[in-house]
């Protein structure tokens, strides 16, 4: 069996390789940064235009009040679940192969949430009234509705974002101390000195660090599940046809893990090349991530089938009409695209020789996320265009270029934040890779000793 990582990598080399990534990435890094800036610029331009002209330019109207904005909001919230999966769930399961790749997945969580938050602001149009969605008491007489899932959403996302940022930061403290100790004087050294809080790796620090990391991981798992369940409740607790489905929360959580895992594969491949991490982000680790993604893809496919079946056999005519309209109406290309990308394409991941084929995996992972984005769009728009009132039925809405531009721009914003993070902070956890190497070399020694004893 291939090894996840070589046991004989010197600890000094691990430091050296990761610290080098902060200073000397491949040229592709700068290409990605400039491309992301350009794409983000498109989004900014669209937002400025919409802000100055009015929401009409987004082609949002009644009944189409959410459009691509909320669909993309759900997409980015879903993407954020990968970090929790890799850091928290796999940490509790002692899956140590996650160690070289969990840091960037955690960063992905944070930046996805920051991107998702933008869409809430963008879709309300009046940016200065964003704070109306926050749950705070009634002294100003605005009477927030504490029984509304939209308000739960605001609170859940705030909790998730702040906890994720803290989790990412705390997990990085020992690595920040490494950067402080081994980088040349300059702004970076000052930054790391400040952020490492005087960490010296004492037994007291490590002991408390371990307990804290485990505790926060235990909190993050139910939190992540609650966040996407609450996002699902935005739909499922309404009376709209096609949304009022009991299986929505687990369906959303599975979809979130699915798109997050697919994004991890994409970013794994990019970071591995750009930062020359071939020794740490190894093909056996990629293979494990691919298998995990395949398993989640099948869960998502099953839950999709459950959702269709429960609508089909529910004797709820309006919901059934929405389902038929999705399959055969103006959105059918996107719905079938979702089925193809989300349920058919992942079958490629089951084929062994493709599980480590980087070009194939890059394309497949992008297609999977296209499928997951289409899924979110197919949750939001078809229901609005085929509600209980017949007057909604002739309101097929095609998103305007402003909406598309903003969706496009969000990918630039995310990529920009993510790539800047990877250049400023270590995207591979040095101390955890050392732990992985240390424990594996101990096992190896034990096996060798046992073998010698047997002879």
């Amino acid at each position: 069996m291939e090894k996840d990582i070589r046991e004989d990598i010197a600890w000094a080399k691990i430091n050296g390789d990761v610290l080098k990534s902060l200073e000397n990435p491949r040229k592709l890094y700068w290409v990605i940064i400039f491309a992301a800036l350009a794409v983000f610029g498109v989004g900014i331009g669209c937002e400025v235009y919409q802000y100055r002209t009015g929401m009409g330019v987004a082609n949002l109207d009644n009944p189409h009040v959410w459009g691509l904005y909320i669909a993309t909001f759900i997409f980015w919230i879903g993407m954020s679940h990968s970090g929790t999966l890799l850091s928290a769930i796999l940490h509790l399961m002692h899956a140590d192969w996650r160690k070289p790749i969990y840091r960037f997945a955690e960063a992905m969580t944070t930046f996805s949430l920051m991107t998702a938050g933008l869409f809430v602001m963008v879709h309300i149009g009046r940016l200065w009234q964003f704070y109306y969605s926050l749950p705070y008491p009634n002294e100003r007489g605005i009477w927030p509705n504490f029984q509304s899932p939209l308000l739960w959403d605001a609170m859940a996302i705030f909790t998730y974002l702040s906890s994720s940022v803290i989790f990412l930061y705390v997990g990085m403290i020992p690595d920040l101390a490494i950067c402080r100790d081994h980088l040349h004087p300059g702004w970076r050294k000052k930054l790391y000195t400040l952020l490492s809080l005087g960490w010296e790796g004492t037994d007291r620090q490590w002991r408390n660090f371990r307990v804290t990391y485990l505790t926060v991981a235990c909190f993050l798992i139910p939190l992540a599940v609650s966040v996407h369940s609450i996002v699902a409740s935005d739909f499922a607790m309404s009376q709209q046809p096609g949304w009022h489905v009991t299986s929505f929360p687990p369906y959303f959580v599975a979809g979130a893990l699915y798109s997050g895992c697919a994004a991890i594969i994409t970013l794994f491949i990019i970071l591995r090349y750009v930062f020359k991490f071939e020794e740490y982000m190894t093909l056996p680790i990629l293979k494990k991530t691919v298998r995990l993604t395949f398993a989640i893809a099948m869960v998502w496919t099953y839950l999709n089938a459950v959702e269709f079946a429960s609508v089909w056999y529910s004797h709820d005519g309006a919901s059934k009409d929405v389902l038929i309209q999705k399959m055969t109406g103006p959105y059918s290309f996107a719905w079938w695209g979702m089925i193809f990308c989300g349920s058919i394409v992942p079958l490629i991941l089951a084929i062994k020789r493709f599980q480590t084929n980087i070009p194939v995996l890059l394309v497949v992972s992008l297609l999977l996320n296209l499928g997951m984005w289409l899924e979110r769009w197919m949750i939001v728009s078809p229901t609005f265009s085929h509600g209980y009132y017949p007057w909604t039925w002739d309101h097929d809405q095609w998103p305007s270029l402003v909406q598309w531009g903003m969706v496009f721009g969000s990918f630039g914003w995310f990529t920009l934040l993510f790539m800047i993070f990877c250049k400023v902070f270590p995207s591979v956890s040095m101390y955890e890779v050392k732990e992985m190497v240390y424990h594996r070399s101990l096992h190896l020694k034990k096996d060798e000793t046992a073998e010698q004893g047997a002879h």
Binding site: M155, S163, L197, R204
Partner: protein
């Protein structure tokens, strides 16, 4: 008697463990075993066996933070709802428990996470000033043993370090 620090660096955990066992067994006058600190580049579970029990108390902060967060959340929400009990609710409860549970739950987690981090900082003694003796090799691949002891004990401790082939020894200047 004035206290002084001495730091020795070792290339692996086995050597460092052997030194700690010897220092404990040597029963050196003027040296309290609790004043020994191990510094390492990675977390090393076996250290707890060697150093003896030094429990972490972060979980108590977590428990307190989570309970406080949950209670505060419920109090804020139900307080806001009850404040307006004159509002027509159509016979529905003024403080409905099932929907309030959601925000209480979120606040429970928020409180738990935030106070755990506070507990971590307090228990781990962070943020901290750089200790008088430190080697950047601790964050690379060496294990450090920092000892605070009476001036009279330093020579004996140093002898133990040298016996185990310490890679480097740093001493605080005498006063």
């Amino acid at each position: 008697m004035s206290k002084r620090h001495i730091l020795a660096m070792f290339s692996n955990f086995e050597d460092a463990e052997a030194v700690i066992y010897e220092l404990r067994a040597a029963n050196i006058q003027g040296f309290n075993f609790d004043d020994l600190t191990l510094k390492s580049p990675i977390e090393h579970h076996e250290v707890e066996v060697v150093l003896g029990e030094r429990p972490a108390k972060v979980q108590w902060f977590t428990l307190g933070g989570a309970l406080m967060g949950g209670l505060l959340g419920f109090w804020l929400i139900s307080g806001a709802q009850a404040n307006f009990y004159a509002q027509m609710k159509g016979g529905k409860p003024i403080v409905p428990l099932p929907p309030n549970f959601i925000l209480t739950y979120e606040m429970f987690i928020l409180g738990g996470v935030f106070i755990s981090i506070l507990g971590f900082l307090i228990c781990a003694g962070l943020p901290a000033k750089r200790s008088p003796l430190y080697s950047s090799m601790v964050s690379e691949d060496q294990i450090g043993i920092l000892v605070k002891a009476d001036e009279s004990a330093i020579a004996n401790i140093k002898k133990v370090f040298l016996n185990h082939e310490a890679l480097e020894i740093q001493e605080e200047a005498g006063k």
